[in-house]
Amino acid sequence: MPVFSSFIPETHSNVSPGFVDILIQTQREELFTGLMQLRYSLNENLIFTFVDGVEQKLYRSHENSTEILPRSAWSQMISHSSASVGLLSLSLEALRFMRVALEAPVVRMDTVKLNSQELLEHTNRWVSDQDPSIVQVQTNNINHWYLFADRSSLVLEEISLTGGKFQFSISDPLFARSLPEGEHEVIRYVSNREHPAWQEYELRLAFNPFMRMLTSRFSELAGRVLTERLCEQLSAWARGGGWNITLSSNGAVNRQYFDTLEAAANAYTDILRRFQLDVIPAVGARLAENIFRETLMNLPPNFRDILNQYTYMQYGLGSVPFITQKETTKL
């Protein structure tokens, strides 16, 4: 979804490849998190993503899609001619939003003009739609983008562009009520749920309630003190593994940027495996396994499916036949 690139403010015009290198080096030193756009002549547009000063990916935007360039091609891509450079500082959450926007393919684009009431009605339909989408709402020169991917909860991630600044926030499907009266220009970019960017996004959404329910169940069995100790231990272990994920009795605070679905799935699987290893000495292997199965059963179906697909099956508990049987027999 290349639309974001037009909102990245240009900071340096027509600079040499050497100066681009210096700018990249500066972002590294300043531990920059955000987007760096390089515009070349012949309408070529490259976007770097940075997390804490480390380049994550380089995208080349085309008219309706974005291509991820391999790391080996980076130096060649940025050194062939002079470029105009734009920088957009973002929070980690906003950058994760951007990653979905940049990578997820757009299979259909709908443009409509809607008043707040109509937008509210449309939003209710989009929330339950099987296909995920990014919805851009333009109102009074303020742009809002919403991610519609979570079919089970009533949480929408939102980015709004106000006064040249992108701000990330958590919204809900009633957001239209807070918009000013009058008509809004709405563009809906419908995407494909099977794309790894959406899968990674949904896996992250599912991981948090799963961890919250697991810790809460463990707390019921073992008490709060032991649960807090378990969470501290798991958080320290995750930190040691290089993941910025903190666990508490309220669930997981996930401030990790995963650049691939595999990296995310492996990290979540490892944390879940570690959780199980740590609770076995307290409640025994059988009960630990039951806690996992039971918790998975209590999740909304889409969360259960994605966790089954990317973490639980890898994890080796062979849950799917068991859960299917339980659902059939209602036991």
């Binding site: 008490g223 709060r224 100790r229 231990q233 000495p281 307290a282």
Partner: protein, 279 residues
């Protein structure tokens, strides 16, 4: 209570100390029972003191576990019931020992101690029920079904044992036979529930107290059965091993239960710590 040790060592050493203390107590009880090194009265007094001590150990361990949980923790309710039940058993042991030392021939009739012992079963049953509710999270009908079937099992076992005792005609009063029939029935119900819980916790630290309860229920069941069948009195008259073995098992069962609870307390206090925190 770490004595300058790190958490892991403190836990191991305190557990070793508790096991060693229990072994010494069992050895002392066995020596007093079989060798009778002092006068008969003193031997009796020491054996009763040791039994009361063992019951106090189990009640104190359970109280420690209850105390370590926070007020909002669900397991605290379980341990509240267990601790209260065990303190009632302590009262039973104290009043029985008093009767044993003051009454002629040391024969304690059915009375106050049995009231403590029997009431304690209600609290232990509540503890098991609470643990069941936490583990299984049953629906209201499921819970009713389980409670009904457990109470029914207890009643059938009780009626069956009562009928057998009446048929054997062991010249006991009706109240005495009723109370005597209750113990094996109650023990059997507790033992079955403890087997179910032990199986659920399979090796987990939080399941150890239930193993202790299982041992306790079985030993008490054996003791009750020997008493009721007359084998205990017969063995006592002939001075053979059966009564001695039964008494030692009964005494040890308190200690096994206290070890199970104490190991849970140690786990709650020192367990699940990272290596850096353990220091």
């Amino acid at each position: 209570m770490r004595f300058g040790w790190d958490a892991r060592n403190a836990s191991k050493r305190l557990m070793r100390f508790a096991i060693a203390t229990d072994i010494v107590l069992i050895a002392a009880y066995s020596i007093i029972y079989f060798r009778g090194p002092f006068s008969p009265y003193t031997n009796n007094l020491l054996a009763d003191i040791l039994t009361v001590m063992a019951s106090v150990f189990s009640a104190v361990s359970a109280t420690l576990v209850w105390n370590i949980y926070e007020k909002t923790d669900a397991p605290r309710r379980i341990w509240g019931f267990i601790a209260f039940g065990l303190w009632l058993w302590v009262m039973g042991e104290v009043t029985w020992s008093y009767g044993n030392l003051t009454l002629p021939n040391g024969e304690v009739p059915i009375g106050v101690p049995d009231a403590f012992w029997v009431i304690a079963y209600y609290f232990l049953g509540q503890a098991l029920l609470t643990q069941y509710k936490i583990l299984v999270r049953p629906t209201q009908p499921e819970l009713k079904r389980r409670v009904t079937s457990s109470v029914l099992f207890l009643c059938v076992a009780f009626a069956l044992i009562f009928s057998i005792l009446k048929w054997l005609d062991l010249s006991s009063s009706v109240v005495g036979t009723l109370v005597n029939a209750f113990y094996p029935a109650g023990d059997l119900t507790l033992a079955l529930a403890a087997i179910w819980l032990t199986n659920h916790f399979q090796g987990g630290a939080l399941g150890r107290p239930w193993i202790g309860l299982l041992v306790f229920a079985f030993s008490d069941l054996m003791y009750a059965w020997l008493q009721l069948s007359g084998a205990y009195a017969w063995s006592l008259d002939r001075g053979n091993l059966v009564s001695g073995f039964s008494d030692i098992v009964y005494f040890s069962a308190y200690l096994v239960f206290s070890l199970g609870s104490f190991s849970q307390w140690l786990f709650l206090k020192y367990g699940m710590r990272s290596p850096s925190e353990a220091r």
